[in-house]
């Protein structure tokens, strides 16, 4: 088989859901910026609905990334090798911690990856809810627009940051 089940979960987590979340977030940020840059322009119902749908998509993808990462990929990563095993390729955490030069990938990168995505998921869900409830006001009202863009931008930076850390970890000790 070309890809193992472990590989498929990892790709689904990082490339499918995680990559999709980053694309959706940047699309929402661009949409809100473009629709709100002219004070005189009132977005149409369709445009506002598009922003709501994109934000909801971003929130859903971040939750899927986070849940799959926590409950499907992370258990594979942290599995302890049985007594006497010398080939640690199937035990990424133990492999990473076995060498001082790669130990930071667990103590810093993975520890960050465990928690930060949950914060991003909560922030984007809040924006999606506000977008759903307030519609065009999210773009027209400068207070709502500013806060929404700020939270979406923070979430985008967080998702990008943990994605980069994930690439580093996967380069040294892939779950495959």
């Amino acid at each position: 088989m070309l890809f193992s089940e472990r590989s498929i979960w990892t790709m689904l987590h990082g490339i499918g859901f995680g990559g999709g979340a980053m694309l959706a977030l940047i699309a929402v940020l661009a949409a809100v910026y473009l629709l709100g840059r002219e004070a005189t322009h009132v977005p149409s119902v369709r445009e506002a609905r598009f922003v709501t749908q994109l934000t909801s998509l971003a929130a859903s993808l971040i939750w899927l990334t986070t849940l799959v990462g926590t409950y499907a990929v992370f258990p594979l990563y942290r599995a302890a090798p049985p007594e006497g095993v010398t080939d640690l390729a199937a035990y990424p955490r133990t492999l990473i911690l076995s060498a001082p030069e790669t130990a930071w990938l667990h103590s810093f990168a993975m520890e960050s990856k465990e928690h930060v995505p949950w914060i991003a998921a909560m922030l984007v869900t809040a924006v999606a809810h506000v977008s759903w409830r307030y519609g065009r006001k999210v773009i027209v009202d400068s207070r709502l627009r500013r806060a929404s863009v700020a939270l979406l931008a923070v979430a985008f930076l967080l998702v990008s940051y943990v994605s980069l850390l994930g690439v580093f970890v996967n380069k040294v000790a892939p779950v495959e």
Binding site: S44, V45, E111, L123, R133, K137
Partner: protein, 120 residues
């Protein structure tokens, strides 16, 4: 049709009535609650790092992270429900809510930064 679209038509020249008159309280509740959920996670992470309290593992494979994140999500949803109920007709205090959300998010990010755990 979504509720906020009920009073919206493509021909409406300005933001429709339902959106204009909806107080900002709902948005404040959503944003501040997200900050509270984030900080709850940060506090649980810090307590774990300091060996002061470890949330139970609710999933054997994932370990303690399953307890920490589940408790944080509960804190988020409960605080959201409470704030939504209390603030939904409120329209003042936006700047404070914005500042509190920002502060909570910054604190939570600091708390989840492994470099700071060594301080504890």
């Amino acid at each position: 049709m979504l509720e906020h679209d009920a009073h919206v038509t493509a021909a409406t020249p300005a933001a429709p009535a339902a959106e204009q008159i909806r107080p900002l309280g709902e948005a404040m509740a959503a944003f501040v609650a997200a900050g509270i959920g984030s900080l709850a996670l940060g506090v649980l992470v810090l307590l774990h790092a300091a060996d002061a309290y470890s949330a139970p593992a609710l999933h054997a494979g994932a370990g303690g992270i399953s307890g920490r994140t589940t408790f944080a999500v509960i804190a988020w949803l409960v605080s959201w429900a409470v704030l939504h109920r209390r603030w939904r007709v409120r329209d003042n205090g936006w700047r404070t809510a914005e500042a509190v959300t920002l502060a909570l998010v910054v604190l939570s990010l600091l708390a989840t930064l492994p470099l700071l755990w060594e301080v504890f």
